[in-house]
């Protein structure tokens, strides 16, 4: 049986809690002195309203292809840069990460830049949507950036 915590690819959508250490292991290598982890976590409010949980959905094949494109282009543009992006789908409870980005690089500054760019591109180029469940019972899609 497959262990659901295993993260076999550097650009992935998963339906279970993200194994952050497994994402880190995807990029760590002996020639990289800096490993940077970014965790985007679900918080308990939006625009002053109390949020109970978030549900993420995706146009899965296109989302995975576009995540892979972001990883490939960042790695190709960098010097020995390694990038992994894992996004969770389905219900994500408060304080758990919905996205984890790991970057390894020989140079710290390059890792910060790539991590920032990966998230900015993800938010515009990857067909994923969040649905907020407010504690008062209302449910609302968030639609923020035109898909590019």
């Amino acid at each position: 049986m497959t262990d659901p915590s295993t993260i076999p690819s550097k650009a992935m959508l998963v339906d279970v809690a993200i194994d952050v250490a497994a994402v880190e292991r995807l990029v760590a290598s002996v020639d990289c002195g800096a490993v940077l982890l970014f965790l985007g976590t679900v918080r308990n409010h939006h625009a002053g309203r109390s949020v109970g949980c978030l549900t993420y959905s995706a146009y899965r094949p296109m989302a995975e292809a576009n995540l892979q494109r972001i990883v490939d282009e960042l790695e190709a543009a960098g010097d020995r840069l390694r990038v992994a992006i894992v996004h969770r789908l389905g219900d994500v409870p408060l304080s758990e990460p919905s996205v984890v980005i790991a970057v390894a690089s020989p140079h710290r500054e390059a890792a910060y830049d790539a991590s920032r760019t990966a998230l900015e591109r993800l938010k515009k180029e990857v067909p994923i949507w969040k649905r907020e469940h407010y504690t008062d019972g209302e449910v609302q899609w968030r639609e923020e950036e035109p898909l590019d």
């Binding site: 985007g40 976590t41 679900v42 918080r43 409010h45 939006h46 625009a47 002053g48 309203r49 978030l54 993420y56 959905s57 995706a58 146009y59 094949p61 296109m62 989302a63 292809a65 996004h87 990460p97 919905s98 996205v99 998230l119 993800l122 938010k123 515009k124 990857v126 067909p127 994923i128 949507w129 969040k130 649905r131 899609w141 968030r142 639609e143 923020e144 950036e145 035109p146 898909l147 590019d148």
Partner: protein, 88 residues
């Protein structure tokens, strides 16, 4: 011919999540599919310009491609991946 329609987020609230098979005349373009969908779901006309459309996983970016039998057409509202950042 038949195409397969998928819709996401608020677009799925309007036309259904799918996948649904939709029969079109041979040689039909995306604009013909749009007209057919708006005939069934009038509110779609008011939001159409917000949508990105992908055919076979590729964004059409304002083109009006001829559709082929078996094409997968996806209606994609503005996206919101990642974690929320704005604070109230």
């Amino acid at each position: 011919m038949n195409i397969k329609l998928l819709a996401f987020a608020t677009a799925s609230d309007i036309v259904g999540k799918g996948p649904q098979e939709i029969k079109l005349e041979d040689g039909a373009r995306l604009s013909d599919l749009k007209a057919l969908l708006i005939e069934k779901h009038a509110v779609l006309e008011t939001v159409w310009d917000r949508l990105a459309v992908a055919v076979g996983g590729q964004l059409v970016r304002g083109d009006d491609p001829v559709l082929k039998d078996g094409d997968e057409v996806a209606l994609l509202p503005p996206v919101s991946g990642g974690a929320p950042e704005l604070c109230p």
